[in-house]
């Protein structure tokens, strides 16, 4: 395999001349850089390089010619590079699978446009529309509240939710200002400003028991920012207390699912993992440990370990009565 930067730059260099050819009136350098996902400085280096390339002979009339006018660039001679290179298999798969996934989203207003785009892209990729991509993304379309939430989002209305909070095993009621709908790792989430909690919250749609669109405009306050999800959905505060757990092999998935601060391989239990999680919600931690049925033990805090064991003993007593 070649280093990604090499392939990436070659793909860009071969695409730049056709890109300018398709825009005969010229383009602002800043816009072109944004379209290629590079800095303006990098784009200038690419153009400088292309400027000395051309047809064999490499005389003045053979070289790619560009005209710079202020902050704009225009192509005046292409040396025969008028169309971009065909899509590679990976590129075609990325496009086709992404469009098919979008098409699966229930009640998507743009569905027609997605189907047409899929047909055109498949044709341009040189595959029939029913191309057998080696990747498929299956979307959960069953969430019943989805249509109502989408309606609220599109009409910019506030929503009233009956929401189940698993960490406290509680039903709650709240009014929220919807911001966006996310499909993360197979689950739908509504990101919204929660008027009760006075903060941005994520609501998993399969935990919404009832939802109604209110006759009231959605008005997230200026401090309501969309969360950056790059680090995962759960983002604990740095000041929250630490819980130390020891995970058996079968419970190691916990370290992938929740944001753990530290993790160390341990030999007791064999193949186990010691992890540190930050949470102010000991109720959540108790439910997590109990739901692991002994595959996780609590190193700290002691009161958490005691609580889990006491609950278990009380439950066992009911079975032996």
């Amino acid at each position: 395999m070649t280093a990604p930067s090499t392939a990436e730059r070659m793909t860009r260099l071969l695409a730049l001349v056709p890109y300018l050819t398709a825009r005969p009136d010229g383009v602002r350098l800043a816009d072109a850089a944004a379209d290629f996902g590079v800095t303006e400085a990098q784009l200038r280096r690419d153009l400088d390089l292309l400027w000395v390339c051309g047809l064999p002979g490499h005389g003045p009339g053979d070289l790619i010619d560009l005209a710079f006018e202020g902050d704009r660039v225009r192509i005046t001679f292409t040396a025969g590079m008028v169309r971009p290179l065909r899509l590679s298999t990976d590129e075609a798969v990325a496009l086709i699978v992404a469009l098919r996934t979008l098409l699966e989203l229930p009640g998507l207003a743009e569905g027609e446009a997605v189907s047409r785009a899929l047909a055109k892209v498949s044709a341009a990729a040189g595959h029939p529309a029913e191309v057998r991509a080696p990747v498929a993304v299956s979307v959960d379309a069953r969430a019943q509240s989805l249509a109502v939430v989408r309606d609220g989002l599109e009409r910019h209305r506030a929503l009233h939710l009956h929401y189940y909070v698993p960490s406290r095993d509680e039903r709650t009621e709240r009014t929220v200002d919807p911001m966006r709908l996310l499909l993360v790792d197979g689950h739908w989430y509504l990101e919204a400003w929660c008027r009760n909690a006075e903060g941005v919250r994520l609501f998993r749609l399969d935990r919404i028991d009832d939802v109604a669109v209110l006759d009231e405009a959605a008005a997230p306050p200026p401090q309501a920012h969309e969360r950056d999800l790059a680090d995962g959905l759960y983002q604990p505060g740095a000041a929250e207390p630490l819980v130390r757990l020891r995970l058996a092999r079968t419970a190691r998935w916990v370290a992938d699912y929740y944001p753990v601060e530290e993790q160390t391989e341990v030999t007791d239990p064999p193949g186990g993992l010691a992890v540190t999680v930050r949470t102010s919600d000991l109720g959540w931690a108790r439910r997590l440990v109990a739901s692991l049925g002994g595959a996780a033990t609590v190193d700290e805090p002691v009161e958490l370990a005691t609580q889990v064991a006491e609950e278990a003993r009380a439950a066992l007593a009911r079975y032996t009565d």
Binding site: T2, P4, A7, R9, M10, T11, R12, L13, L14, A15, Y19, A22, D35, F36, G37, C53, G54, H58, A79, M81, P84, L85, R86, L87, T89, D90, E91, A92, V93, A94, L95, V97, E110, V114, R116, A117, R132, P134, V135, A136, V137, V139, D140, R150, L153, Y164, D169, R180, L181, L182, D185, G186, D209, G293, V298, A309, A312, A315, L316, Y319
Partner: protein, 325 residues
């Protein structure tokens, strides 16, 4: 990449695109700037050969259809050319709505497995004159999990249709076992990645969860070694493997507790001790047992006996862990 090399590669593409004839390596050496010139020494010839081999590999790697052949019977050696029709992306015109759909769709790969391919696809579409505005806000954003190290090698093997071997450990097994499969494809299903393929040892179709693959999968043997079934629907293979028989479970819950259970339960009315009797349906009995045990004394399993035992077993372990602490 060194600017010199990039320059040479661009010149090579332009030169070979501009001709219908096959061009010999010697001719390429003389017309494309940047190659070691012919000074009659073996050393210079060797240097040119090495450079040219690397350049050919590089171009093929990014998908340039570099052909080898002879224009006429009088040619003494193979030459090279790039057929314009094979090189060029066919005409594609998208409306503003269609282009917006493409921009939105490609966000699926943002920071996920095919992010690089998605970005270069976008670059090519833009170069074909399509205006894709990715900043345009749409109210839905799909996203995939990036953290699955086994994805890359499994995907490449499925794409190239090569046999694949990997170590796989199910949660109920202590050690991993070696599996050999013909990989048909990968499916993201309910947020998890699965590999679907033909298991060569078991001689049957199998579904593997990527997170249970340990170590790096290895492809072996020739490309195009097998053909997936013609009517294959990857997603439904995974869905089918996850669909199991539904079981009925009856529990007692103290009034006002076990809210999460009640959301999916049918009420059977009060028991003689004042608890609420609930009927639950499950296709994943062990996950339900975990959940029931987590409710502690608030929930008591009535039936079936197997579920009672599974919950008691979990509670006993939890109680014992407390003794040690």
């Amino acid at each position: 990449m060194a600017a010199k090399r990039a320059e040479r590669l661009v010149n090579l593409v332009i030169a070979l695109l501009g001709t219908r004839q096959y061009v010999s390596a010697a001719k390429i050496r003389s017309i494309v700037p940047g190659y070691e010139p012919d000074d009659g020494t073996d050393r210079a010839d060797e240097a040119f050969k090495r450079m040219f081999e690397r350049d050919k590999a590089e171009l093929r790697e990014i998908g340039v259809p570099l052909e080898t052949g002879r224009t006429s019977a009088f040619d003494t050696e193979d030459g090279y050319r790039i057929a314009r029709a094979d090189y060029e992306l066919p005409e594609i015109t998208l409306t503003a709505e269609e282009a917006a759909a493409v921009g939105l769709a490609l966000r699926l790969w943002q920071s996920a497995q095919l992010a690089g391919a998605a970005q270069s696809a976008l670059v090519k579409l833009r170069a074909a004159g399509v205006e894709v505005d990715q900043s345009r806000g749409l109210s839905i954003q799909p996203r995939l999990d990036a953290g699955e190290p086994a994805f890359e090698p499994c995907y490449a093997a499925a794409r190239d249709r090569r046999a694949l071997a990997f170590d796989y450990r199910r949660p109920d097994e202590q050690t991993a076992s070696r599996r050999r499969v013909q990989p048909w494809g990968l499916v993201a299903w309910h947020g998890r990645w699965y590999l679907v393929g033909h298991d060569l040892d078991r001689q049957a179709a199998r579904v593997f969860r990527l997170s249970r693959v340990t170590g790096t999968p290895r492809a072996s043997g020739p490309v195009g070694a097998f053909e997936p079934p013609a009517d294959l629907d990857l997603a439904s293979v995974v869905a089918g493997s996850e669909r199991r028989e539904e079981q009925l479970v009856v529990v007692r819950a103290r009034p006002g507790t076990a809210i999460g259970l009640r959301r999916h339960a049918t009420s059977l009315g009060p028991a003689d001790d004042g608890d609420d009797r609930l009927e639950l349906r499950t296709t994943a009995p062990w996950a339900l047992a975990d959940q029931l045990a987590a409710y502690g004394p608030d929930v008591l399993v009535e039936a079936p006996q197997r579920m009672r035992e599974a919950v008691v077993e979990r509670l006993s372990r939890l109680a014992a862990a407390g003794e040690r602490a």
